[in-house]
Point group: none
Chain length 225, copies 2
């Protein structure tokens, strides 16, 4: 019967706090002295426990500062999307967005088209501002998804497009986002919107395919440089 708490026990307790989410990523643990008092154990034991946790990559110890949580019990859903590489993302969009165009033809209302129209105008006033164009572009594809009325598709598209904003992809993308490219994209957006307005599902879907193909090309070209 163990009467005394050992370093391994302390390590287990702290590890549990981390994996259960009580201690979050980047959070600072109490000082070794405070932990020693809290667990009613000597500081050396705490140090040994922290040493074990450090070996397993749960915490990082910074002299003079403190010990910090470096492990995150992965939230499965987010990571899949965050971890996806740009080509996977664009393949997913190749699957989703042409069909979204077809559904937009079926379910779209005039107010939706007006919103898309104003976004087109907004983008056409951004030929010299890549960042502003990108933002409006994301909004365009987002609104397009919303016209389908399909909450599931809307959710998926929002997830997939939102990744772009905080990615290295953005950097690559900006390399190729010159005035000529933006003008091309603007023309394609127009064609897509017109096809939807005239209720031509297959033409809208094909226009979207062309649009995504252009985006993929500029992406692979940027990756090769």
């Amino acid at each position: 019967m163990t009467l005394r708490k050992g370093a391994a026990d302390i390590a287990t307790m702290i590890r549990r706090e981390i994996t259960k989410g009580t201690r979050e990523l980047h959070e600072r643990l109490p000082s070794e002295r405070a932990l020693a008092e809290h667990y009613d154990v000597a500081r050396g034991t705490i140090r040994e426990a922290l040493s074990q946790l450090m070996r397993d990559g749960f915490v990082a110890v910074r002299p003079g500062s403190g010990t910090y949580v470096t492990y995150q019990p992965q939230a499965p859903s987010e990571n899949v999307i965050e971890a996806a590489n740009p080509l996977e993302l664009i393949d997913a969009r190749f699957a989703l967005e042409p069909h979204i165009c077809r559904l937009a033809v079926l379910h779209g209302r005039r107010t939706d088209f007006d919103t898309l129209e104003s976004l087109c105008i907004q983008m056409e006033n951004c030929v010299d501002d890549a960042a502003a164009f990108s933002e409006a572009d994301t909004a365009f594809h987002k609104i397009l998804a919303e016209t389908t009325g399909n909450t599931l598709l809307i959710w998926i598209i929002n997830r997939v497009t939102s990744v772009r904003s905080q990615d290295e992809w953005t950097r690559m993308r900006h390399l190729t986002l010159d005035q000529r490219m933006i003008t091309t994209y603007n023309a394609q957006h127009r064609q897509i919107l017109n096809a939807i307005r005239t209720r031509e599902p297959e033409r809208a879907a094909n226009m979207m395919k062309d649009h995504l193909e252009a985006a993929r090309l500029s992406l692979t070209r940027a990756a090769e440089t």
Copy 2:
């Protein structure tokens, strides 16, 4: 053993306020000086904390103006998919699965085809057992997605197909899943697999569309009764 409040602690507290929804998107935080007073800490500490939050994309600081929340806690993914109705689900599959067939043609390996083949055989031995057929059918579509090698698409399809098992859709579906229907589905699965094997992307995609159209028809028919 006083526990000193460090920048990491302040950052954790503010991060919690944001993720818990207390601080909403685009909301302006109090000034650094006000935060310093509120948390009873020096302004430098607040600045270091905000700097960390900025690195992680939770806030953005605008000199002369203030600090603004730039992070939105994601809507729980499960609910969106769980709440989707059968027609939304099948529309999502209409978007995804034909393109998955195209990608399967591009990336599929012989071993993948062998697995799909064995699942076809398994389903063909289930013409009189709707439950067993359903299970194998789900596996077929799942494996098909996996042959694309696109982790994002795999994840989405798994989410979308897994709903079927615990849905009222299942009940409706079983109503129409007689021997004749299962035989039809089996033939379609065969045609899809063959088209992929002979590397015909568009034919495979079209076969999948036919397959989904049949599923949708049986679904709407069941809903009308």
